[in-house]
């Protein structure tokens, strides 16, 4: 972790919060540091910055810093913080926003970030047929992320294969995917929302 005693000469960039508001409709600047979000977050044990610190950094315009943090990917989107924030700040939404930004700006790589790899594989899978085919998804994820190597070395791969077999025996791993009929429309949806360019986040689809 970086040296926290270092004096940051503040050049706050209020454009950052402005942009967040414009893109996601979220107003992090309302935060008054009550720390409810952090106190109630179930995943702080695995975070490098707490949710309230993420908000604080964003207010200071230090977006780069949080874009590269582990926190945004550790966040499980459980919405506890969003539900409880007295200022109605959608903190989970901010985490999403940051993930989207990291993705759009190409700041994350599947091989370094398993969560990212999984989300990416998942989205690709939807793009294929409109529905997710879990059996195929898992395989592709393992391969694209290289997770199988790690799992091989720590022995969990076998555990997972055993699990897969068990599910299969219980009729829970179908071998053929199903899809939707209207793939044309599906393509349109995915094209309207280009996945990997900077302008992902033009005014919201809502």
């Amino acid at each position: 972790m970086e040296d926290r005693a270092e004096v940051v000469f503040l050049e706050p960039d209020y454009d950052v919060t402005g942009k967040i508001r414009a893109l996601s409709g979220i107003s992090p600047e309302l935060c008054y540091q009550c720390r409810k979000c952090t106190s109630g977050c179930p995943l702080t044990f695995a975070m490098d910055y707490y949710p309230d610190q993420i908000v604080r950094y964003l207010l200071l315009g230090l977006e780069e810093k949080v874009l590269s943090s582990a926190t945004v990917w550790v966040c499980s989107a459980c919405e506890t913080c969003t539900t409880r924030c007295p200022n109605e700040i959608d903190i989970a939404g901010l985490m999403d926003y940051l993930k989207q930004q990291a993705h759009a700006r190409g700041l994350v790589r599947p091989k370094e970030n398993l969560s990212y790899a999984f989300h990416k594989a998942f989205l690709d899978d939807i793009g294929r047929r409109g529905r997710v085919f879990e059996t195929g998804l898992l395989q592709r994820y393992m391969l694209s992320s290289g997770a199988w190597k790690a799992k091989l070395s720590d022995g969990t791969l076998w555990e997972e294969i055993r699990l897969g077999l068990a599910l299969f025996r219980r009729g829970r791993l179908p071998l053929r995917p199903r899809g939707i009929r209207d793939t044309h429309e599906l393509r349109r949806l995915f094209e309207k929302a280009p996945v990997s360019s900077e302008n992902t986040t033009q005014s919201s689809a809502s």
Binding site: P12, Y14, T38, S39, Q53, T83, R84
Partner: protein
């Protein structure tokens, strides 16, 4: 029952709501001779305060109960309980209302209406997060107050609901139902809950010294007079404070204990178990306010309280309809009582034409008569039924006592009882009264007025305290002793002298700031001639350096129009560059010496208003004075007033809070600097949205509805950074540029700012006023502000009658509160000024000049500095108009030169003998 008090041909005011605000407004009006209809929806008067254990900062709940009784019995007040205003129409001077109560509907008329419908505690039931409905040991603060009450379920020692055991570890969660916009919450701060949580914690420790108490809070908002000290004392007493807003409550496995999880100030996650959790619930307006407001056409604020213009406190948008207390927004008792006074004064000013309480009854001269004692047994319905059995034998016994002419029982079932008493006294021709009751203090005023009406000197009265007596037959012995002694004492009573002094119906106001000017105008409006003395060469005081009230209203425009009104008012004489250099006299009769234009002149007046104001300190920290762009807030504001675009081009602004306030040498909060900084930050951001504005604070105290502008400031991008006393921001100057380094507690790292200018919110200190305090026999507190009367619930009264305070001279406060106090002062003063004659004397100390050895003991002893050595006569003198009758000097005087005829040493000795069974006839 209430019908017996017919409204007389006086001004009529309808007061809706019988909490402290309504009670005080009603009593103030009644004392001025107005007729009041007081409507209360509950079965008893008292409102929220009646449900509380004690009150911060100094307890005064007993006085609230006292006021309820007074209202019920006051001849000018009709109290309608279990009632509501079913319909109301008309306009100022002619409102027609229909009161719906248990006996049906009654139409009434009113010249003015005061809304005092108060507050309701937020009900956390609907608020899933705090598991209030789910867990037994999660209770609301108002429930805790009840558990703490000595008359409550556990004789004042709280027990936890689940198992009836005294709690060992108690947590308070602040801001429940306040300062939230997410779910069934309020965007405002409820203003009272920080203080009451401290109070409850201290009280809990008092009852259960072993208990641990922890308050989880965001900003500790102890912004009132003496509150910061209360906060510090609470910490000293072991109340623990944790800055963290708790998100939810969880039950520990297998017990009814409760688990709280939070991040502490070092960022570490903590899990702690408590056995009782108290939700510091916020305030909500009365549920019926909206409907009544609609009937009257009264506008409500965004937060559903009555909307009030900051320059016209206590007025609604409808002429003749006034508002006070919790109906105006979240307020504590202090502020509610100030506003009650102000609303009463405004209603009175509106409803002119009440004639003075002219005649003072002549007392019959009883000196030649043999003592003839009437004994009245006044029994309230609350006495145990067994007590009844004692009454007849007791009455028979009392009849046999020497000197007793009649014995009568008075059942206080209705408020006309005291009227009957006076007739009875007159008819029986008695010349002494013994009055026995279990609420002697509350009845005293009423008994005395009944005696006056019967032409009897009220000092010829002795009471028997029936409180806390048993009701078994054995009790008879003690009762006999008590009554024998009281009759004996009554026979010994000599009528005390009451001098009748005509009241000088004029006022002196010292200090020509907004508070002083407003007080002068209010009094002048009620036809009282006023002399306004201002030390400086112009009126206006500090307001010349105030830009706006918190919502942004321009103070300069208001100031200008106020100065115009004051200088043009025919009843007001303004003396600028003038000073009061001496004063003598007492309430109703002062003669003050004013030096004006090098000449001294004497001014006679009935009351005096001290509104000498305050100013901000010059700090010796934060590089003040070392750079032209480091301002005190007043100078910063002045510059903006003179040139609204002065700071437009600045890139970065820094506000530093609590400069010199809340420090060991000045342990109070200056109350308005937080609001000021937030307001100014918004104004700067509006002026130039690109400016970076930082507020470095210790606690953001935007109490009440001011929380809205705190939110607005954040919305606009104002950046707030908290610091502690031991980690103050560092201000330095590098190459002519300002630099501020401060550690952000959330990120745990220092940040460097380079502002174009800095505004220091420096402590507000009072104008030097020791001489005035001495002239008018009042005192200053440790911080140099005037001390209000220790007789509680009199926030603008001096401890000496006839002296009043308003504005900054009492404590730091914003314009609207200063104005409200000025009006309250006018109302309180009118109680006195509407009388033609005052009775002076009675239960006071008197010096026997022959015995006085001029030892000065009394001068040193008197808590109010009343005795002085009258040099030409060479002995101590005690002004009967000023003496409060505590009797302290009497007992201290080594030469026994001071007597106290109401309760002389002989009286005491004889009473002791008689109470112990000796026959001393």
């Amino acid at each position: 029952m209430t019908e017996t008090k017919e409204k007389k041909n006086k001004g009529n005011v309808l007061v809706v709501g019988g909490g402290v605000a309504g009670l005080n407004a009603a009593l103030d009006l009644a004392a001025q001779g107005y007729h009041v209809d007081l409507v209360e929806k509950e079965s008893d008067l008292g409102g929220t305060v009646a449900k509380l254990h004690r009150l911060y900062p100094l307890c005064s709940c007993c006085k609230a109960a006292n006021r309820a009784t007074l209202c019920k019995m006051h001849p000018n007040i009709r109290a309608w309980t279990k009632s509501s205003v079913a319909r109301i129409s008309g306009q100022a001077g002619a409102f027609q209302a229909v009161i719906a109560g248990p006996t049906g509907e009654t139409p009434i008329e009113a010249d003015a209406v005061i809304l005092a419908m108060g507050v309701e505690p937020f009900n956390p039931q609907a608020y899933d997060t705090y598991a209030y409905a789910a867990y037994e040991n999660v209770i609301s603060s108002i429930e805790l107050e009840w558990l703490q009450k000595p008359v409550g379920p556990f004789q004042g020692v709280p027990k936890r609901p689940s198992d009836g055991q005294p709690p060992k570890k108690v947590a308070w969660l602040q801001c429940v139902g306040s300062r939230e916009i997410n779910k069934c919450d309020a965007p405002y701060c409820s203003s009272v809950c920080c203080m009451y949580a401290l109070k409850e914690a201290v009280q809990l420790k008092d009852a259960l010294p072993e208990a641990e108490t922890t308050i989880f809070f965001m900003d500790m908002r102890t912004h009132g007079k003496g509150y910061e000290k209360y906060f510090e004392d609470a910490k000293q007493k072991g109340v623990r404070l944790v800055r963290s807003r708790i998100h939810s409550i969880e039950k520990a496995a297998g017990t009814e204990d409760l688990v709280l999880e939070y991040v502490d100030e070092n960022g570490a996650k903590q899990v702690e178990t408590f056995d009782l959790v108290v939700l510091s619930v916020g305030l909500r307006p009365s549920a019926e306010l909206e409907e009544l407001a609609k009937m009257l056409g009264v506008t409500l604020s965004e937060d559903h309280y009555v909307a009030v213009d900051n320059f016209k406190p206590c007025e609604t948008n409808v002429a003749g309809v006034f508002v006070c207390g919790g109906a105006t927004g979240p307020r504590d008792v202090h502020q509610s009582v100030v506003e009650a006074g102000a609303a009463a004064a405004k209603a009175a000013a509106w409803t002119k034409g009440v004639s003075g309480n002219g005649a003072v009854a002549e007392f019959r001269d009883v000196s030649g008569e043999a003592p003839s004692v009437g004994v009245v047994l006044s029994l309230c319905p609350s006495k145990l039924p067994e007590f009844e059995a004692l009454i007849d034998p007791l009455a028979a016994f009392v009849k046999t006592l020497p000197g007793v002419t009649f014995v009568e029982r008075l059942d206080l079932l209705d408020s006309a009882a005291f009227g009957r008493l006076s007739q009875r006294l007159q008819a029986a021709g008695v010349n002494r009264l013994v009055y026995a009751s279990c609420t002697p203090l509350m009845h005293q005023e009423l008994v005395e007025s009944a005696m006056k009406e019967a032409g009897l000197n009220p000092s010829l009265y002795e009471f028997v305290d029936l409180r806390a007596l048993g009701s078994t037959p054995v009790e008879m012995n003690r009762l006999q002793d008590l009554f024998r002694t009281a009759v004996l004492k009554a026979r010994m009573l000599e009528p005390l002298n009451y001098a009748k002094v005509p009241v000088k119906k004029s006022a002196l106001v010292i200090g020509g700031g907004l508070a002083g000017m407003q007080a002068a105008l209010a009094l002048a409006e009620m036809d009282v001639p006023v002399t306004l003395v201002e030390k400086k060469d112009r009126l206006g005081g500090h307001a010349h350096k105030v830009r706006s009230a918190w919502k942004g209203e321009s103070v300069q425009d208001f100031l200008k129009s106020t100065i115009d009104k004051v200088t043009q008012h025919p009843k007001i004489t303004v003396l600028t560059s003038a000073e009061v250099v001496g004063a003598r006299g007492f309430a109703g009769n002062y003669i003050s010496t004013v030096r004006h234009n090098g000449q001294k002149k004497e001014i006679e007046h009935g009351v005096v208003v001290l509104a000498t104001g305050a100013h901000s300190i010059k700090p010796d920290e934060y590089a003040y004075g070392k750079h032209p762009e480091i301002y005190r807030w007043s100078d910063f504001t002045k510059k903006l007033i003179d040139d609204p675009a002065a700071f437009k081009s600045a890139q970065c602004a820094v506000f530093i809070q609590c400069v010199g306030s809340r420090e060991p040498q000045r342990p109070y909060c200056s109350r308005l600097c937080c609001t000021f900084a937030v307001r100014s930050a918004i104004d700067l951001k509006t002026l130039n949205p690109d400016m970076d504005v930082y507020v470095l604070y210790r606690e953001v105290r935007t109490f009440g509805e001011r929380e809205r502008i705190y939110k607005e400031a954040r919305e606009k991008g104002v950046f707030f950074i908290r610091f502690d006393l031991d980690s103050k921001p560092q201000v330095s100057i590098e190459d002519g540029r300002l630099k501020v380094v401060v550690t952000d507690p959330i990120l745990g790292r220092p940040l460097a700012l380079s502002p174009d200018f800095i505004s220091l919110q420096t402590a507000i200190i009072p104008a030097e006023a020791a001489d005035l305090a001495a002239f008018y026999k009042v005192s200053l507190n440790e911080d140099g502000f005037f001390a209000e009367s220790p007789a509680k619930m009199r926030p603008v009264d001096g401890e000496t009658e006839g002296v009043f305070f308003a504005g900054l001279a009492l404590a730091p406060k914003p314009v609207e509160e200063s104005l409200a106090e000025a009006w309250a002062v006018a109302g309180r003063a009118m109680r006195l000024l509407r009388q033609d004659v005052m009775l002076v004397g009675g239960a006071v100390a008197e010096v026997d000049p022959d015995k006085c050895a001029v030892c000065l003991t009394c001068v040193r002893t008197c808590p109010f500095h009343i005795p002085f050595i009258d040099s030409p006569q060479g002995h101590a003198f005690i002004d009967p108009g000023l003496c409060q009758g505590c009797g302290m000097c009497v007992s201290e005087c080594p030469g026994k030169a001071i007597s106290y005829r109401r309760l002389s040493d002989d009286h005491i000795a004889v009473m002791a003998l008689s109470l112990l069974g000796s026959d001393v006839n």
